[in-house]
Amino acid sequence: MASRAEAGSPTETPLPPRRGGFGRFNLEIRQHISPLRQTLVLLGGLAVGLIATAIVLMAAGVTLRGIYEEFILSIFSSPMSVSAVLVQMAPLLVVGLSAVVAFRVRFWNIGIEGQMIFGSIFATFVAIHNIGPEWLRLPLMLVAAALGGMLWILVPALLKLRLGINEIISTLLLNYVAFNFLLYLLYGPWKDPVSAFPHSEQYEPLERLPLLGWQNLTWALPLALLLAVVIWWLLNVSRFGFYARFVDANPKMAAAVGIPIATVTLASALLSGGISGVGGFVVSAGIEGRMTQSFFLGYTFSGILIAFLARNNPLIAILVAAFVGVLFVAGQSLQVFYQIPGAMVQLIQAIIVIAVAASEFFIRHRVHWVRGSG
């Protein structure tokens, strides 16, 4: 990465002619680039990121053959591991959609994990206290989770709109508050009465997302896919989506033509928080069957990464979520077979974001070498 970053650095200070013996990089702003070429540049960035990832993995002691086996061979060789990827993909897609909705109106929601925690807390509350008739329990948990997530983003959203307080910091700080509240519940009133371990009691079968009937896939994935389509409709077809795009593209113009900017921003933020809350529900009721103390770890950045790589497109997010799902599952097996800490997955995601973000430079600019006049 570093070498790439440096490749552009001489450009912004065109050297005076006295050093014309070597020549210099010249920068041009591209006026137009074909979608195909744009895609190729981004894929090139992705490829550089993956190569950098391979180098890091090899430095950590994984052979090239090992990388191939863990990331490709073992993932696609058995139905079991394919299903593991699909299971992991569901919550990833949900948090990715949460980030998409927020980023569409330039609301930097970095509090996805906190909202997931509150989503799961609200859902678990419904489960523990057996609220509502049994046939309605699961839908109630889903709605409760969405409300929990919305509640947790409400304060940062209002603070941004009313006082102009930076939502990046406020949403992030609330992650820590939510996490400590979760620990309070799990070590205190909600400690599992059966095992006395710090996680909630196990959900009853009717409080868990039912199995689809293939491997251990649950309804979590269809739910996430449905959500992606709904969000796509909302952002690309509906009037609300039109407003949101307007606010993103030109807030002043949007205000001038009477688009309710504050309402659109608030609604998008609440929707984003609500979706994150559903993400918490998907992990707790769809995968783990209870609320654990680390179920949310790493989802904020994965959500940002998915929205970023998918160019804020809910349908492309499906593909990216599957890709990140592969990373997660491969990361778990690296942990088991190579004792590589789970943080490796985070590192890989960061490398990929950096590589793709850097490649955008070559979409916006044309760089060429100008020989010196001697």
Binding site: A5, I29, I354
Partner: protein, 309 residues
């Protein structure tokens, strides 16, 4: 009384990481670069510091290593936002997660995780340290605490009384004008990023080498983010940032002491207080005084000469 002296004498140790990190952020942000990677640079400094103590056994050297490690990693950030004009929010967030992953990976590979180390020793000042109360609060600290005021003075002097500081601020206020005047915008921004990151890394190194005396994954615990909020609260003034850091150090130093005197608050609620206090401080700053006026004019805006209008 004993509770009070005990508490106050512990504040400097807790305040130093906030103060150094906020100072580093001010240096970077004065050049117009929004540095959201502070949490990551802090982790990098903390991990490198502990590693250096384990390898060399020299806590003072370790603090320098911590600063250098963070500065080196920040060059990736500089390459992204200065040379490649990547969105500074995305680049900053990516740096945080890059450093989180990198530090826990390196620490695990080297076996530095959860190893207790010999930390930075306190340095009682002969004579002065024996003064009752005041001696314990002010003169039984470690060397970094004594150096805080000189460091703040130096940075303040650099920013306001030197030509380079003036140019750096010009780059942050109006890079186009600075560019026209012949200031190398990229160079100043890169320098401000690396210099600021060194201070943030030092903050992290202090946290692990002098306070915790151990490395644990993610041990910065949001302090980098709190420092970012502190800078807004301080409206980019170093001395106000020092005041804010002491305030937050005071809150943090109070947490372990509340339970000790028998006040029954569940510990997890106590652990929330720094984050809630940060939010309250940001609300206070937004309500009283317009922070926008003190914000560097070009904060977060990349400078591309070719895109000049």
């Amino acid at each position: 009384m004993d509770f009070l002296v005990n508490w106050i004498s512990n504040i400097p140790g807790f305040a130093v990481p906030f103060a150094l990190a906020a100072l580093g952020l001010i240096l970077t942000e004065k050049s117009g670069v929004l540095s959201l990677g502070a949490e990551g640079f802090m982790l990098m400094g903390a991990m490198a510091g502990v590693g250096a103590v384990i390898v060399t056994g020299e806590p003072l050297l370790a603090l320098i290593v911590a600063a250098l490690a963070a500065a080196v990693v920040s060059l990736i950030f500089a390459g992204l936002v200065v040379a490649l004009r990547v969105n500074q929010v995305i680049a900053g967030l990516a740096m945080v997660f890059l450093c989180q992953g990198l530090t826990s990976l390196i620490a695990a590979q080297e076996g530095w995780s959860s190893v207790a180390i010999v930390g930075l020793a306190t340095l009682p000042i002969p004579g002065l340290a024996d003064i009752p109360i005041v001696g314990r609060i002010l003169f039984q600290q470690d060397i970094v605490v004594y150096l805080m005021v000189p460091i703040f003075f130096a940075v303040q002097w650099f920013l306001t009384r030197t030509e380079r500081g003036l140019k750096l601020r010009a780059v942050g206020e109006n890079p186009e004008a600075a560019d026209s005047a012949g200031v190398n915008v990229s160079l100043y921004r890169t320098g401000a990023i690396a210099g600021g990151a060194a201070l943030v890394g030092l903050a992290g190194g202090y946290l692990s080498v002098a306070v915790a005396k151990i490395w644990v994954d993610g041990m910065a615990g949001g302090r980098g983010w709190i420092a970012i909020a502190l800078v807004i609260f301080a409206r980019w003034h170093p001395w106000r940032a020092l005041f804010g850091a002491i305030l937050f150090g005071g809150i943090e130093a109070l947490i372990p002491r509340v339970a000790a005197v028998g006040i029954q608050v569940p510990q997890y609620f106590m652990l929330m207080t720094p984050y809630i206090a940060t939010l309250l401080v940001m609300i206070w700053a937004a309500l009283y005084g317009n922070t926008r006026l003190d914000e560097p004019g070009a904060l977060g805006r990349p400078h591309v000469r070719e895109e000049r209008r």
